[in-house]
């Protein structure tokens, strides 16, 4: 993490994109990125995150607004003159060139002498731990190895900015985790700025300095991972990042930034008031499944509601309990798989408890957040 306050490196200023001159795919994107930051654009497919990346790379034109690097607009710079490294989802290695030739391509384009190229290629092959693979063709490498070559090729001409478009999407889970570590290591070692696009929130949470959550062409929230998870700005982010429960109710009153919400079945619960919440309005209260506790337990609590047991699903390291509330909606509780994990009979009722600070009341926007994709 090199957020040493070196000033704004990359800036998007009210950037909009429309393909058909009628509807906007990106509706006014703003962000200021510091040198060396790792920024992730996260969102469901079709949310505009890839379009933002393509505009930055220069493969899509900007409909309005400016993208600038170190204060200079790059809107009118040809993509091949932007000096931005890019890692593609399908690696995009040139199949007719060896690994070394692939790495040498950006260097020879820049007129570097052959001996210098050779030294640089060897250096970067070592960096991605593929020292002996220079003479192989991409077709002779495994998926993880190809991804390393693609990374090395994007870094070898020493761009200050590297874009990654779902680079780990084609890898299996284990390899993906390994490559996440690899990318983080290279980022910290070399200090370049990364703009990373993914729809995998676990990937985003574990790698990024900041995450911009996209939906419907708008950034819903741009914040560090922990803040995004603990303090989502709205119901969409609360639903999209991690797992969440939503309890529907009506706001009775708001005092000291806390909302008292009456829920069907007669009970009142208290939660942190989200932005834009008004007394008398309909509200949804979010509580993470791991922050809910089944009575009896040793944790302190502020809220308690009654619920009917539906099912208990054994996952391994934890157990998921499904309960039904008075209004028929379901609620999930995650309990660590230890001796305290309770047993329930079907239809038995239980009591769920949680802290005020673990729940947030959001205004009910009419529809539930759509997180498909």
């Amino acid at each position: 993490m090199t957020n040493t306050g070196a000033g704004v490196f990359l800036e998007f200023n009210d950037v909009k994109k429309s393909y058909d001159q009628k509807s906007l795919v990106v509706k006014g994107f703003n962000i200021q990125v510091e040198q060396g930051e790792f920024i992730t654009l996260l969102g469901p497919s079709g949310s505009g995150k890839t379009t933002v990346l393509m505009m930055l790379a220069g493969f899509e034109s900007v409909t309005s607004g400016t993208i600038s690097i170190r204060g200079q607009s790059i809107n009118r710079t040809a993509p091949y003159k932007r000096n931005i490294g890019m890692v593609f989802q399908n690696y995009a290695l040139f199949p007719h060139m060896t690994v070394a030739e692939n790495l040498g391509y950006p260097l020879s384009v820049r007129g570097m002498s052959k001996p210098d190229q050779k030294a640089r290629i060897a250096e970067y092959l070592d960096l991605v731990e593929l020292g002996d693979f220079g003479k192989r063709y991409p077709g002779q490498l495994s998926g993880g190895q190809r991804q390393r070559v693609a990374l090395a090729r994007a870094m070898i001409f020493e761009p200050t900015l590297i874009l990654m478009d779902e680079p780990l999407g084609a890898l299996d889970k284990k390899l993906r985790e390994q490559m996440q570590y690899e990318i983080t290591r290279l980022h910290e070692q070399l200090g370049f700025t990364v703009i990373y696009v993914t729809h995998d929130q676990a990937e985003a949470l574990s790698m990024s300095d900041r995450i911009a959550v996209f939906n419907d062409g708008i950034v819903q929230q741009c914040a560090p991972p922990a803040e995004l998870y603990e303090r989502p700005a709205n119901a969409f982010v609360a639903e999209f990042i991690g797992e969440n429960n939503f309890v529907h109710g009506t706001v009775e009153r708001i005092e000291d930034g806390r909302a008292v919400v009456s829920i069907p079945g007669g009970a009142n619960i208290v939660a942190e008031a989200g932005e834009g919440l008004e007394a008398g309005a309909r509200s949804i209260v979010s509580i993470r499944p791991e922050k809910l506790f089944i009575h009896p337990n040793s944790h302190s609590h502020d809220n308690e509601i009654a619920a009917t047991f539906v099912a208990r699903i054994y996952v391994g390291d934890f157990i998921r309990y499904y309960f039904r509330l008075a209004d028929g909606s379901e609620i999930v509780v995650k309990v660590l798989n230890d001796l305290s994990a309770p047993e329930f009979g079907e239809g038995e009722s239980g009591r769920l408890q949680w802290l005020i600070s673990d729940s947030i009341a959001f205004p009910h926007s009419g529809e539930m957040p759509d997180v498909t994709g």
Partner: protein
């Protein structure tokens, strides 16, 4: 050999052999007219039939005189030279134009794609005699009739569809992000085209070029309409050879052409396998 299943009746087996026999018959019907000219071209006599001596395998009944004729007769040497000049130039022109067209047509932003494809492929579908007649009147006004450029352009137009088809086929497997990758690495679009696109579609380009060459090489209708005596090609010469001076020289030429065609076919097959290997490794 694999035996017949136990439930086969006599008629099953009879049907099986009848089908086989028919298949061999069809094959023979296709290939014998081509094969028969090869021994006939070594005839020592100016006949189109096997002589007694040839049937008795008498070495004196065979000779290379008709091959010698090809080399010595000025008409034939001119025709061979013309065929190669026109064929190679037309194939080159068709390959360049067809490749550019195919690359353009493969772009997702190309408007009227189907219409343009249909127009470019039309020389393959429209009857040659109609094209020839049309070209004759059109080229006359440009003074192209009876000239090499005229014939080369005409034959290139016939070859372009083949190049478009073969290059489009190789482009279908082309990953467009390779192009973007090249750009992102700092190469201009033209440089990326030469360094990345062309090497990857090369098998399609070369086989398209060979098809275009062969098309020009055995084309006679356009030549009849557009060529003057100076532009006589091999097929044109064979045509008049059949009518005016019946001698087995044309059989010798035909034999040479058969071997040339086989060589081209083998080249095509090798290229196809190579491109498949490249893509398989991808």
């Amino acid at each position: 050999m694999r035996g017949f299943p136990e439930y086969f009746t006599f008629w099953h087996i009879a049907g099986h052999y009848a089908l086989r026999f028919t298949a061999y018959l069809v094959l023979a019907f296709l290939i014998l007219p081509i094969l028969v000219i090869i021994p006939l071209s070594f005839n020592a006599e100016p006949f189109f039939t096997f002589t007694q001596g040839m049937l008795a395998l008498d070495p004196d009944a065979y000779s290379l005189r008709w091959y010698n004729e090809i080399i010595t007769d000025q008409k034939w040497t001119l025709a061979i030279r013309n065929s190669f000049i026109i064929g190679i130039a037309a194939a080159f022109l068709a390959t360049v134009l067809g490749t550019i067209a195919a690359v353009g047509l493969a772009s997702p932003w190309m408007p009227f794609k189907r219409l343009i494809t249909a127009l470019l492929l039309s020389p393959m579908i429209v009857p040659l005699i109609i094209i020839a007649a049309g070209m004759f009147f059109f080229y006359t006004s440009f003074g192209l009739v009876g000239t090499f450029p005229g014939l080369i352009i005409a034959h290139a137009a016939l070859g372009v569809p083949f190049v478009i088809i073969t290059v489009t086929a190789t482009l279908a497997g082309f990953d467009r992000s390779l192009f973007s990758a090249g750009i992102s690495l700092g190469a201009s679009p033209v440089k990326v085209f030469w360094d990345v696109v062309i090497p990857l579609i090369r098998p399609g380009v070369i086989s398209g070029g060979l098809f275009a060459f062969v098309t020009s090489f055995d084309e006679v209708v356009l030549v009849l309409f557009l060529a003057g005596p100076e532009q006589r090609t091999i097929p044109r010469q064979m045509f008049s050879g059949l009518r005016e001076q019946i001698n087995p020289t044309i059989l010798a030429v035909a034999t040479l052409l058969v071997f040339l065609s086989v060589a081209l076919l083998v080249t095509l097959e090798v290229l196809r396998r190579r491109s498949e290997r490249l893509r398989g490794a991808e």
